[in-house]
């Protein structure tokens, strides 16, 4: 392989891929959500544009692109413009650190299916996903209107509260793997032969609940509760800026679901490695396994949304401070003790 290919083409290709991949997943997720919720609710959902309506999100994005970009006179111009970008960029950036599959060998060259491998990858991803909170509060504040402000306040309180159990459960994984490197965490799960989701079910459950809350999704979708706050922090946004918020929300869901897959369900690993009869599962590339698991969790998001009513703000906060955080703390203590003794 020539140096030109290895040093220029492949990195550029990866950069394009890391932007395209979340976008494609966002389109798939929007379609999945609208279609699956529709079927659960005895409706048809979008089924006209493209195969089974798959191109509907693209059509929507194109429509939003041509819409007027309304700027309120009372809005703070700078913050109003920055916040959608901030939300979107922080979500996309985190995808650089996600390992999507087994490294592929091409001759002497090893093609890794991630852009950056860092010994503190887990921390970076969590940090980046928290930055999006700034986008939300800037957006809600800059609009200089009451509903967005209330939405933004709710969102910040909610995300900050749920960050704590999220961090505590992530710590248990880090302890179990003795690493914060996402690739290393998957490798450890491969070596130990059991995925951490089964080893530490409490961690997984707490992480998942916090993840749904962190992404502001039903039943924790208070910041944008449409029956109360119209649309929450992005009420005053229109056109492409609104589309950025909208897509960032879905990108965030894909990101968090990817994290669940990587931390708790072995990332790109095939299931049942110890069962000899199921060896043929290894033929399927790791990336496909990763996608299958990812789709399952994305589907779970949709399923939850179609089933539950919305929490009220006080009970939402009560849930995290009175139940999830103590549970996560005890869980952390147990994991640390067990890990220390073994």
């Amino acid at each position: 392989m020539t140096p030109f290919v290895a040093d220029v083409l492949i990195p550029v290709g990866k950069i394009v891929a890391v932007i395209l991949y979340p976008m494609v997943m966002v389109v798939v997720m929007i379609w999945l959500e609208r279609r699956v919720v529709a079927l659960m609710q005895l409706r048809l959902g979008p089924n006209r544009v493209g195969f089974q309506g798959l191109a509907q999100p693209v059509a929507d994005a194109v429509k939003l692109f041509f819409k007027e970009d309304i700027r309120q006179r009372q809005a703070d111009k700078l913050l109003f413009g920055i916040s959608p970008v901030l939300v979107m960029a922080s979500s996309l950036l985190a995808f650089c650190f996600l390992p999507l599959g087994e490294p592929i060998r091409i001759g002497t060259y090893t093609l890794t299916l991630w852009i950056a491998e860092s010994p503190v990858g887990l921390l970076i991803v969590l940090g980046l996903s928290s930055i999006s909170v700034f986008g939300v509060i800037f957006g809600g504040w800059a609009a200089n209107s009451k509903y967005p402000l209330m939405g933004a306040l709710r969102s910040v309180v909610q995300v900050l509260s749920y960050e704590i159990p999220l961090g505590l459960t992530v710590l248990t994984v880090a302890f179990a793997a003795r690493s914060m490197d996402l690739v290393e965490i998957v490798r450890r799960q491969e070596a130990s032969g059991v995925w951490y989701g089964f080893l530490m079910p409490v961690s997984f459950v707490v992480f998942w609940i916090s993840a749904v809350a962190e992404t502001n999704r039903a039943p924790f979708d208070l910041p944008e509760a449409e029956s109360e706050l119209v649309a929450g922090y992005h009420t005053e946004y229109s056109g492409m800026k609104f589309a950025y918020f909208y897509m960032a929300e879905y990108a965030h869901m894909v990101l968090v679901s990817s994290l669940v897959v990587i931390l708790f369900f072995g990332g790109w690993l095939a299931p049942f490695p110890s069962v000899k009869a199921l060896d043929f599962l290894d033929v399927v590339p790791g990336f496909v396994w990763y996608l299958v698991k990812l789709m399952f969790f994305l589907y779970l998001y949709v399923w939850i949304r179609a089933t539950f009513p919305r929490y009220r703000f006080d009970s939402l906060i009560r849930l995290v401070w009175k139940w999830l955080i103590p549970l996560a703390l005890v869980n952390l203590l147990v994991v640390v003790l067990v890990r220390y003794l073994l």
Partner: protein, 364 residues
């Protein structure tokens, strides 16, 4: 930072004010200190308009008041006019009216269930409830061709007779609805989030409810058995056996349970009315131009949303001198402020939903 009380404007363009209602909320952070409904965005001057129309021409306009339960308005107005003119309605017509009115109650309560669940965030329930409502609306369509503004009741009787195919179709629908309600109840009744959002929320004591003049399911959720069909029976309602479901706490959850139980009772009443459908005419002989000697009556019925009253004053011509409507939504809405005080902003939509208001009837 010092928190300051501020006003929040909700509506008239807001997804969950059920039409063009505007609420002026005084809030401290997210705690509601007071609610002031601002009305009039849908005012069409109905009552004045009626004075320039003949008695018969008024009937289709009553459809446009509570358009979720159009037929109940027809019934209320027609009963008042019949009382004023001394028209005797044949027994079969009275039974047909009961069947239609109870089907209308079903449709209205099902629509309420969907809207209210959607306000609280249970999106799927909206569609499940509307599928059941669709079934009932199909019956109306077969009966008279219209689905929403039905205009199915005329002065002296009904617009059409119930024929055998329609009767069997009604029975089939009545059998399907409880099954669909079961699905909804499985999703909501014991759901922790649903109960947190409804139990103890928007409470009103029986005494306060009477002071505000609350009627309908909202009043019965406080434990007061006040139902016009039982207490001042009209249109042969005393022929049928049915219960008046009551709540105990007067909160949103009880209003929800009361309405669900009323759906079951309506199914019971329709079943009995179809079984005992007497022979005879489906409408009385009413002169084409109805002239009523001077007089004034007030007549009330139990509409799905509460007690609906019509005052009709005649002056000897073919047009009413004055028609005044006592609309349940308008009066029930007054209690909103009382129910919302001290609750969180999020609960305002739930409480408003539990009141089951229709703006067509409030603004008239």
């Amino acid at each position: 930072m010092e928190l300051r009380e501020y006003d929040l404007n909700m509506g008239p363009q807001h997804p969950s004010t059920h039409g063009v209602l505007r609420l002026k909320l005084a809030v401290d952070n997210e705690v509601v200190l007071g609610v002031e409904p601002v009305l009039g965005y849908l005012h069409r001057g109905m009552e004045k308009l009626w004075e320039s129309l003949t008695y018969t021409q008024v009937v289709p306009l009553t459809d446009r008041l509570d358009y979720i339960a159009a037929l109940s308005n027809n019934l209320g107005y027609c009963l008042a006019v019949e009382k004023l003119a001394g028209i005797e309605v044949p027994k079969r017509a009275r039974y047909v009216r009961v069947v239609l009115a109870e089907l209308q109650r079903l449709a209205s309560h099902l629509a309420w269930l969907g809207f209210m669940a959607n306000d609280i965030g249970a999106m799927s329930v909206l569609l499940y409830a509307f599928e059941a409502r669709e079934d009932v609306l199909d019956l109306f369509e077969e009966y008279c061709g219209a689905r929403l503004t039905i205009h199915g009741i005329r002065i002296g009787g009904a617009v059409r007779d119930l024929d055998t195919p329609l009767v069997s179709r009604i029975r089939a629908v009545l059998e399907r609805i409880p099954k669909r309600l079961e699905d909804v109840r499985a999703l909501l009744d014991e759901n922790r989030i649903w109960k947190e959002r409804t139990v103890g929320v928007g409470r009103i004591a029986a005494a306060a409810a009477i002071d505000y003049g609350l009627t309908g399911p909202g009043l019965r959720a406080c434990g007061l058995a006040w139902d016009m069909r039982k207490d001042i029976p009209y249109s042969s309602y005393d022929d049928f056996a049915f219960d008046v479901p009551l709540g105990t706490n007067g909160d949103v959850y009880d209003r929800y349970l009361v309405r669900l139980e009323e759906i079951c009772q309506s199914i019971r009443i329709v079943g009995q009315a179809l079984d005992g459908l007497p022979g005879g005419e489906f409408t009385a002989k009413v002169p084409r131009v109805l002239k009523i000697a001077p007089g004034e009556v007030f007549h009330t019925i139990e509409a799905p949303k509460g007690v609906l009253g019509f005052t009709v004053r005649s002056n000897g011509t073919d047009k009413p001198e004055r028609v005044k409507m006592k609309s349940p939504s308008f009066i029930n809405l007054q209690a909103l402020d009382h129910m919302c005080r001290g609750n969180l902003f999020s609960d305002v939509v739930g409480i408003l939903g539990s009141l089951d208001i229709v703006l067509g009837e409030i603004d008239k």
